[in-house]
């Protein structure tokens, strides 16, 4: 089966991702032991002790095996700044970004799919051109700038929403939504543009199918033909392709969280970069890559599951 093949493909990819992330460490300027030793960097005993602890005195392949063995057991190392386990830091921040991401994805679906349907149905008409133009603009707009402009309008001029900050969902749902709706909209906007394009092309191909013609011939109202017959089939590739936009979402989250001062995953990476907290940077890259690979797999599985035609193949 194809799925088994996919699973077999994932393992070398995961291994390579880990090698890649490990190699990042080698790009680092200076000796990690010296940086870690801080004040005591003059003491060769301390340096030797750190090197031994971190296996820095071993050969590179051994260092890699040591590191990857730890990673496999869930130990992503310790933050150089706070000495907390990196996995714990990530676990703390991930829910914030997840909330933002889910909201953004819902917003993107709510905008992108209807826009794509309209564009496809009114193909080459004015609405199609408008949808395409807005879509292209959405893809070309740097989302941090869009965020700043939105803050300028909604928070500074109109005073409707707080310009920055974050309240967790568990504390106060209303406040939490108020602080995240604007960033989620900013984040969702680029994905909406991509979903619109996917939806439009999927709808166009579906609208030519025989079963759509049959539905029309039966005398079904056009809205039924489009929503029940065409859209249901067109959505299958759209949702699975949309799921692959996780990378866009995470990249966007870094910037959006910066603009709106949301203490999520993305803000953690940027802070870690400025603090030269390399283990955190490494951990974040590794976790996002694994998330992406798993979601990719999930999208493939889903695709086969919701598409009975492929189950036989």
């Amino acid at each position: 089966m194809r799925l088994r093949g996919r699973l077999a493909q994932i393992i070398p990819t995961l291994v390579l991702v880990s090698v890649l992330v490990f190699c990042l460490q080698q790009l680092m300027p200076g000796d990690p032991a010296v940086i870690l030793a801080g004040e005591e960097r003059g003491d060769p005993k301390v340096l030797a002790q750190i090197r031994e602890e971190l296996w820095l005195d071993r050969s590179l392949p051994l260092q890699y095996l040591h590191w990857v063995g730890n990673v496999a057991r869930g130990n992503l190392g310790y933050s150089w700044r706070t000495r907390q386990p990196v996995s714990q830091l990530i676990a703390q921040k991930l829910p914030v970004t997840a909330q933002l991401g889910v909201m953004a994805f819902v917003i993107a679906l709510l905008i992108g799919v209807p826009a794509g349907v309209v564009a496809a149905v009114k193909r080459n008409g004015p609405l199609d051109y408008i949808a395409n133009a807005i879509g292209l603009a959405g893809l070309s707009m740097p989302n941090f700038w869009f965020g700043i402009m939105l803050v300028l309008l909604v928070s500074v001029d109109l005073g409707w929403l707080p310009p920055s900050g974050y309240v967790p969902l568990t504390e106060d749902v209303r406040q939490s939504l108020a602080t995240t709706i604007m960033p989620a909209f900013v984040l969702g906007n680029a994905i909406a543009a991509i979903l619109m394009r996917h939806t439009r092309s999927a709808m166009l191909s579906v609208l030519d199918q025989d079963y759509v013609r049959t539905a029309r011939a039966k005398g079904l109202p056009e809205s039924q033909v489009i929503l029940r017959h065409a859209l249901r089939n067109a959505l299958i590739p759209v949702v699975t392709l949309g799921a692959l936009e996780l990378g866009t979402l995470l990249s966007g989250a870094v910037l959006t969280e910066q603009v709106f001062s949301i203490p999520g995953f993305g803000k953690m990476v940027v802070d870690a970069v400025f603090n030269r907290d390399y283990p955190v940077v490494q951990g974040v890259v590794l976790v996002t890559a694994c998330l992406f690979i798993l979601l990719n797999l999930l999208a493939d599985v889903l695709y086969v599951l919701v598409n009975p035609r492929l189950r036989r193949a």
Binding site: T13, S201, M203, L255, Q282, V284, V285, T288
Partner: protein, 385 residues
């Protein structure tokens, strides 16, 4: 013998790059949906399949025109692929038959035809014009800029746009217009250099993978998978973090993070081209592999690579602005659109104009590259719409 390949390899390509896919298939040949399924394995070459057919064949879909005289009339202006790929809905009026004598296309090089198709798209031409303006602004910045972009002036701090300062002044009394003009240098330079780095790594790797096949391809493709699994910006941020924040490192980071996309495109195009008759002919004449690769395959993967390069330029400019916005790109006081926006955020209530103009510049520049990229794709690849 020319290498052969399992078809599903190639479909993997179409599937893994959804953004390109969406553009490539917009217009609905249905490949967007099919490409994911194993059933579509026959369509080797994935997204580049259509890319080359129109170009390398030299024929602008004119083959279709021959079969469907009714659609032949639209063949030039409206790429024939569109008509061929999506059948007209039943009852749709047949396009009016316009007699266009074939000598308009006969004897024309594919390149010239592509230029002509490109020029027929007003949006793409407008994008090109804006890019020319930006390039001129960057090159002539010292002449055009009314003030020194890094000269501070205590008497002109955060002044609103006026006749003396068209875009106002910033928190250090520097002229925003001058900084935006000089900022074009950082952005365009970062865009061009990082795309060159990306293409320099990705295209030879893709050519090698597609041409050599076997374990070379398997290894290179897995490396690319691994790199693509890391979100683009996060990978670029991590690379700049480890390399150290400055413009040159940002360019390297963006280039390296973009390279896998070029590899994908070049590989898919190579697979497509290696099956073509003229490549088979070269093999049968006893040409050496290196000669076939360099003389026959490489020139014919240029069109899809060119399209990818234009779109990658747009992405690289956003990426540079993003890194500079985060403080990881161009370092102050040198002007860059991204870092100007970073500074502007602190004065949003007092000096909103600081945030407007640099962002507008990024948006216009990126939009233009995207328009040109879309136009180039349609011009070089009449089938994928």
């Amino acid at each position: 013998m020319a290498p052969t390949r399992r078809p599903h390899d190639a479909t993997g390509d179409a599937m893994q790059d959804p953004r390109r896919d969406a553009k490539g298939h917009a217009g609905g040949s249905g490949a967007g949906a099919d490409a994911k399924g194993p059933a579509s394995g026959g369509g080797a070459g994935g997204d580049a399949g259509g890319d080359l057919a129109g170009y390398a064949g030299g024929g602008d879909g004119m083959g279709d025109a021959g079969h469907h005289p009714g659609k032949g009339g639209v063949a030039l202006g409206q790429p024939a692929g569109r008509a061929a790929a999506t059948a007209d809905p039943p009852g749709a009026p047949q396009p009016r038959i316009r007699r266009r004598t074939p000598d308009r296309t006969l004897g024309q090089t594919p390149g010239r035809l592509a230029v002509r198709r490109f020029l027929r798209r007003p949006a793409a031409v407008a994008g090109m014009a804006v890019i020319v303006l930006f390039v001129a602004a960057a090159l002539l910045a010292p002449v055009l800029a009314p003030y020194d972009p890094i000269a501070t002036s205590w008497s002109a701090i955060r002044k609103a746009p006026s006749a003396t300062h068209w875009m106002g002044t910033d928190e250090n009394g520097r002229d925003v217009l001058s900084r935006v003009l000089f900022g074009a240098r950082a952005s365009l330079l970062a865009g061009v250099v990082s795309v060159l780095i990306a293409a320099g790594i990705g295209v030879p790797a893709g050519l090698l993978a597609g041409f050599a096949g076997g374990w070379v391809d398997a290894v290179l493709s897995r490396i690319v998978d691994a790199m693509l699994a890391c979100p683009f910006l996060i990978l670029a941020i991590a690379l700049t973090a480890f390399l150290g924040p400055d413009l040159a490192n940002a360019m390297i980071a963006i280039g390296v993070s973009t390279a896998p996309r070029f590899m994908r495109v070049a590989r898919a195009a190579t697979l497509e081209v290696t099956g073509a008759d003229y490549v088979q002919a070269a093999w049968s004449l006893g040409a050496r592999a290196s000669r076939v690769a360099i003389r026959h395959v490489a020139p014919n993967i240029v069109p899809p690579v060119l399209v990818q390069a234009t779109l990658a330029l747009a992405a690289a400019i956003i990426a540079e602005a993003s890194l500079s916005f985060l403080g990881l790109g161009q370092q102050p006081p040198a002007p860059s659109w991204g870092s100007m926006l970073n500074a502007a955020q602190r004065f949003l209530t007092q000096a909103p104009w600081l945030a407007v103009f640099p962002g507008l510049a990024i948006f216009l520049c990126v939009l233009s590259f995207n328009l040109v990229g879309d136009g180039l794709r349609d011009a070089l690849d009449p089938r994928a719409r």
